[in-house]
Symmetry: C2
Subunit: 347 residues, 2 copies
Amino acid sequence: MPQKIFFEQEALDDFSKYLKDGNFSRVFFLVDENTHEHCLIPLLQELAEIGETEILEVESGEESKSVEVLVQLWMALSELNADRHTLLVNLGGGVISDLGGFLAGTYLRGISFVNFPTTILSQVDASVGGKTGINLEHLKNRIGLFLEPDRVYVINSFLNTLPLEEKRSGYAEMLKHGLITDKEYWVGLCALDITKELPSHEMIKRSIEIKTSVVEKDFRESGLRKILNFGHTLGHALETVSHEEGEPLLHGEAIALGMIGELMLSTHFAGLSEKSAQQAIKKISSFFEDVEVVGDTDRLFEVVRQDKKNHEGHILMTLLNEIGTAQPDVEVSETAVRDVLKQLQAW
Amino acid sequence: MPQKIFFEQEALDDFSKYLKDGNFSRVFFLVDENTHEHCLIPLLQELAEIGETEILEVESGEESKSVEVLVQLWMALSELNADRHTLLVNLGGGVISDLGGFLAGTYLRGISFVNFPTTILSQVDASVGGKTGINLEHLKNRIGLFLEPDRVYVINSFLNTLPLEEKRSGYAEMLKHGLITDKEYWVGLCALDITKELPSHEMIKRSIEIKTSVVEKDFRESGLRKILNFGHTLGHALETVSHEEGEPLLHGEAIALGMIGELMLSTHFAGLSEKSAQQAIKKISSFFEDVEVVGDTDRLFEVVRQDKKNHEGHILMTLLNEIGTAQPDVEVSETAVRDVLKQLQAW
């Protein structure tokens, strides 16, 4: 697990020290209208001696990961005379850290930046892999850099005002981490009621650890990384078609249903016991029962068929041998996939 | 000196091998209208087995280092389905390698790229420091990355169609390298008639070596890098004012006159002998006697006064103690600077 992630009071203390030691000429905050109100204002109250700051605000939502917004931010930094010794603080979810990381990496050939992730999903993803970037029209993350922030600061109170849909969307990714690698962690997560409480720091740390370890091992052992795709083959199809139909699912909602479908397939193709599958399905569905699948089976199947993880016409998925053990590249039959898609539509 | 610079036939051989070993899905060439005609066509004739190629052409000149052109190139790569295994070949001078390096570094979080520099200046600068970037409106290199090309290929025949002004502009930078660090190299360069012949590979290599060594040493010994600014305090003022007056000098032309002025100042402030100064001035002026200084002394002096190398109101320059030995941060008097500017205007 990267050493530069700090939680709560330790995060505030380290950030104060980082600001002091860094001797930055200026501090810019990149926020959206939500994190401006709910996160930046309380944060600035905690940091008495921050000195001269500037605020760059973009609209919340994926649309801000655009060339137009990027160029506006480049211009804003220039007009506000940001120099090489400027610090950029990204305060928000994945859109803010993707956009802000790329902004910091390209302005004056790179200025320092840190991330305060303000969603569960971005906390879990924030410091692993260093992906930054913007969309080029409809092409997601077409332009970007691999670039790690100097620090990642996790402060749970920023999650308090997050809508429940966003909370459970991040929780779905955490459930996935347990299912693919760690039964004990899965059991612990199951005891959490995400509608009433937030994941503990230990849980956030454990998810970051799992993702880091899988990504790092993949440098030697090519293919392991594919286990992170559990739930994503069906989930991606559900997400894509929901957007086509104008009733978009959140990523985590689609992944939750995708995991339910792939748990069903795991009993047929990867030896997962019926009992384990049913227990896990019951748990996931208890939080996501109101999510509706739109689009017809043929269109959903078409997207599954086009998945880039497939090989030579065979449909390949990551499935579970048991809870906590994933197997990549399991071939599944067209009939079984269509059958599961129908079950999800009737959910 | 970086190991990845190859010359002439060795360059062609290595590039063929690189293409084969790299197993690239596609090869894109970034060119301007001049290098398209004079460099790309002959190069493609040499490379029989290059496979599928695409050509991206931008207009020659600094105006192509813009956000608009960058976005057009991002779109072009996307529309032509460039994937992660695409190679970009930058075939041109500094504008092409600056723009193309940034393009390659940001498309799909980075694709491979190599440079074929086609001016003397870009050959000498091409592989040192890895600066890439674009201008943001009038702000030069405001957006960019530090990023080294995989390979640099120097092929002298590409210089044949270069206008003499461009050749001597690059030659001025080479003369500077000799003057600041290596008397023997300076003497060798003086024996070259740039109006009739091209620098040898040994000379190009020597200039790259000098620049690399100065830049690398600067990581430890802060400030050494300033010696590369010899000729640039006055030269930059001459260049800036020439643009304001609508009679722009090439960078190397301005630097040549700047070196003449700073050689004069070196006799007063850095102990350079009159004889050495006069010999060097005579040599430089033999190639640059037709260059005219525009603008009045007050405006030229104002730009010198604003130079960012100055400190607390003192005018500081890199001057020569003797031919081959430079001293950074020498304080010079306003009277002497004005006097030298007047001499250059009467040139």
